[in-house]
């Protein structure tokens, strides 16, 4: 299927692409056809810097199980550091 469902986040961070490190300004999260992963559907993450062209992109495709594991690991990591926001809010710039 084409789920079309896409979470679109305006956020800033750094990622390393095919060339070098760049500052991304958008993140997309969606469950749809992968480009490469040997799965019918995958959880896909794109970190983009549209101002630097379409190739300024970090792309990740994972199974739902792997995506949950990563998400849980991120939450566990944040929870282990007092003073960090424990709920979703405005992405830090």
């Amino acid at each position: 299927m084409c789920t079309y469902l896409t979470e679109h986040l305006d956020m800033t961070g750094s990622g390393k692409g095919p060339g070098n490190w760049f500052r991304f300004t958008e993140a997309l999260v969606y469950y749809d056809h992968p480009q490469d992963a040997p799965l019918e559907h995958s959880v896909n993450l794109d970190f983009l810097a549209p101002g630097e062209g379409p190739s300024a992109r970090i792309a990740i495709e994972m199974s739902p199980e792997a995506a949950r594991a990563v998400a849980n690991a991120i939450m566990a990591t944040l929870a282990s550091f007092p003073g960090q926001p424990q709920t979703a809010g405005t992405p830090a710039r």
């Binding site: 299927m1 079309y4 896409t6 997309l28 056809h33 799965l39 019918e40 792309a59």
Partner: protein
């Protein structure tokens, strides 16, 4: 039999007069041949859809696949272009129609054209194939498991995708539909609903629904590939286009 063919990237005028890229594959003999506009799936203007385009040329058609994401990402790799297009909300319907119209005109202008053009699309391109056939004067159309022809996308979908049931009466040409019975987008119930609407409007159509197949069963590079169903589907496509596009 002389069976040489050529495939190459071309630029052609599309929606709004924009010059966009397309992948053209055609037999080198003088013809005349029917034309096919190939609409790529959501993952984009990729190697697999170029192979499909060449397959049409190998079977005696002039085939042109527009790069629907060219405006967002000229020169980018297909996957980066698909991500850029998704980030900007996808391909607007009016732009899609204009791009297919431009591709059809390009094919008709080739000296080896017989003046007939059809359209085929896969996945999101299945819906777009139906949209083009309801918006343009074409000779034949094929919808391979296009979703959201009948129903509205799930809430929260960011793309500019609306159902097309109000356009069924405008369908300009015979429609071949190929669907997997395990697919949820479109579901078998949606396929039923589309078929009823086509019947009600007295349209010429033929639907084939495959057990044991879900979405994207033609995609040979994906786990969803179903060789038996895809082989039968290709035969249906060749028969359909031979009937309506060949001389």
């Amino acid at each position: 039999m002389y069976d040489a063919m050529i495939s190459e990237t071309v630029m052609f005028p599309a929606h709004g007069g924009d010059g966009i890229e397309g992948y053209l594959a055609r037999p080198l003999a003088p013809g005349p041949y029917g034309g096919v506009v190939v609409i790529h799936h959501m993952p984009g203007y990729d190697a697999a859809t170029k192979e499909i385009t060449r397959n049409f040329a190998a079977h005696g058609y002039l085939a042109l696949m527009p790069n629907l994401y060219y405006r967002e990402a000229p020169g980018a790799s297909p996957d980066d272009a698909a991500a850029a297009a998704r980030s900007r909300g996808g391909v607007p319907d009016d732009r899609l129609v204009g791009d297919v119209a431009g591709a059809a005109s390009y094919l008709k202008a080739l000296t080896s054209s017989n003046g007939k053009v059809g359209v085929i699309g896969y996945c999101s391109g299945g819906r777009q194939s139906f949209l083009a056939a309801c918006s343009l004067d074409l000779e034949a159309a094929v919808d391979c498991y296009g979703a959201f022809v009948v129903r509205t996308p799930p809430e929260g979908a960011p793309l500019n995708v609306i159902p097309l049931m109000d356009k069924v009466g405008d369908l300009s040409c015979p429609l071949l539909g190929l669907f997997g019975n395990d697919d949820q987008f479109p579901s078998p119930e949606e396929v039923d609903e589309l078929e009823q609407a086509l019947k009600a409007h007295g349209k010429t159509y033929e639907f084939h629904r495959y057990d044991g197949a879900s979405h994207a069963f033609f995609a040979i590079d994906r786990p969803s590939y179903r060789p038996e169903q895809a082989k039968d589907g290709w035969q249906r496509i060749w028969t359909w286009f031979a009937k309506y596009l060949a001389n």
